[in-house]
């Protein structure tokens, strides 16, 4: 069975987005610096995407991420697999070119995960964002693995990856550390309560 994995870019002081998130400002003030490593000149998105989607069979995203991405993704979105969109506002399933489908899930994170697992088979499920969605899956104990792209900046304010003491502490097992210009990739297995 596949793993449920999340991929998140985080500042050294633990923020995954800046303050004042809005439709025009999806990563918050100063938050775009968290993603600079993925795009030119610092990075190569093709390589990043290949690595991120390796062995992934289904993706879960939040509605904001879908809304922002829908137009730029166009008719052949870069997923090429089923994508489940968490939302309160239902919408009919969209079938796009290249194997991408968008299914809108209105009854919560567990339902989205169940549906994703059903189509992913042996492959992994990737919780791809935004920040709030990743937080929810982490707090609910639904992630098996988390990959943190640590950016050596101090943001001071914004959305924290994890800030719920009642749900913690969460023990992790460090499985991989890759040092790279401008970003340190840390991979962890999440240790589940026996």
């Amino acid at each position: 069975m596949g793993k449920v994995t999340a991929n998140v870019s985080m500042s050294l002081d633990g923020f995954i987005a800046g303050p004042n998130i809005s439709i025009d400002n999806p990563m918050g003030d100063g938050g775009e610096r968290l993603h600079e490593w993925m795009f030119p000149p610092k990075g190569n998105y093709q390589e990043v995407a290949e690595e991120m989607f390796k062995n992934v069979g289904a993706v879960i995203v939040g509605r904001e991420m879908f809304d922002l991405g829908e137009e730029p993704w166009g008719d052949n979105p870069p997923f090429h697999m089923p994508v489940f969109v968490l939302t309160h506002r239902s919408k009919e399933k969209l079938v796009k070119g290249g194997g991408t489908t968008f299914t809108f899930v209105t009854d919560g994170i567990e339902s989205a995960l169940r549906q994703a697992k059903a189509v992913a088979g042996d492959k992994d499920i990737l919780v791809a964002g935004g920040a709030a969605v990743e937080q929810q899956y982490l707090k609910a104990g639904l992630l098996d693995e988390i990959q943190i792209h640590l950016i050596p900046i101090l943001m001071g304010n914004g959305t924290r990856l994890f800030d719920d003491l009642s749900a913690g502490p969460i023990e992790l097992e460090t499985t991989r550390v890759i040092d790279s210009p401008g970003v340190i990739h840390l991979q962890f297995r999440i240790v589940k309560e026996p």
Partner: protein
């Protein structure tokens, strides 16, 4: 080869979500393998390069018995404790490890520590308040962060109140340590 200029190093151990001890004030989740650390290359290097230590009152209070430091603390060097209230009884000292209680602020502590350290580094042990003061005052040359593989969810945040953009970090080194810890070394550029 780098010339080893004496530097002020701010060191801290942090959870992955950016806290340096849990809400109860206990750091036990963060230091399960302290004995191992002294045996690592990184631990040995740190101990060898450190000529003086600055710590806040809370770090000093971590040892239940203030006389424990002499002969036991990993850094047997002059120790400068930032505090408004020096303890009534002066803690035990040795020829190498002495205590100075600094009541007139971090700049004074750094000045005195640098003088005592000679050509070795000053190591600022970063409990939250000390770390914040040191960073805000622009006194640290390097930041060493050990990231522990745990999410705590709450506690003290070492970078609280640091203005976004006030400090730039240049990565010097990334090392994996025993216990799943990741050691990050940064140069602080102001």
């Amino acid at each position: 080869m780098e010339v080893n200029m004496e530097k002020v190093v701010l060191g801290m151990t942090m959870s992955l979500d950016g806290f340096i001890n849990d809400r109860a004030g206990s750091v036990s989740a963060l230091y399960p393998d302290l004995v191992d650390w002294r045996e690592t290359d990184q631990g040995r290097e740190s101990i060898q390069n450190t000529g003086a230590v600055i710590m806040g009152r809370n770090s000093f209070a971590m040892a239940e018995d203030p006389d424990w430091f002499a002969g036991n603390y990993e850094y047997q060097v002059p120790i400068f404790v930032l505090t408004h209230r020096p303890p009534k009884k002066h803690p035990k000292e040795t020829d190498a490890l002495t205590f100075t209680f600094v009541t007139d602020g971090i700049e004074s502590a750094v000045r005195q520590a640098k003088a005592a350290a000679g050509d070795k580094d000053v190591n600022v042990i970063g409990a939250a308040v000390t770390a914040q003061q040191c960073l805000k005052a622009g006194l640290a040359d390097e930041l060493h962060v050990d990231i522990m593989p745990v999410f705590l969810g709450g506690g003290l945040r070492p970078f609280e109140g640091i203005d976004d953009g006030q400090i730039q970090l240049e990565r010097i080194e990334v090392m994996e340590l025993p216990g799943g810890r990741t050691h990050l070394k940064f140069r602080i550029i102001r």
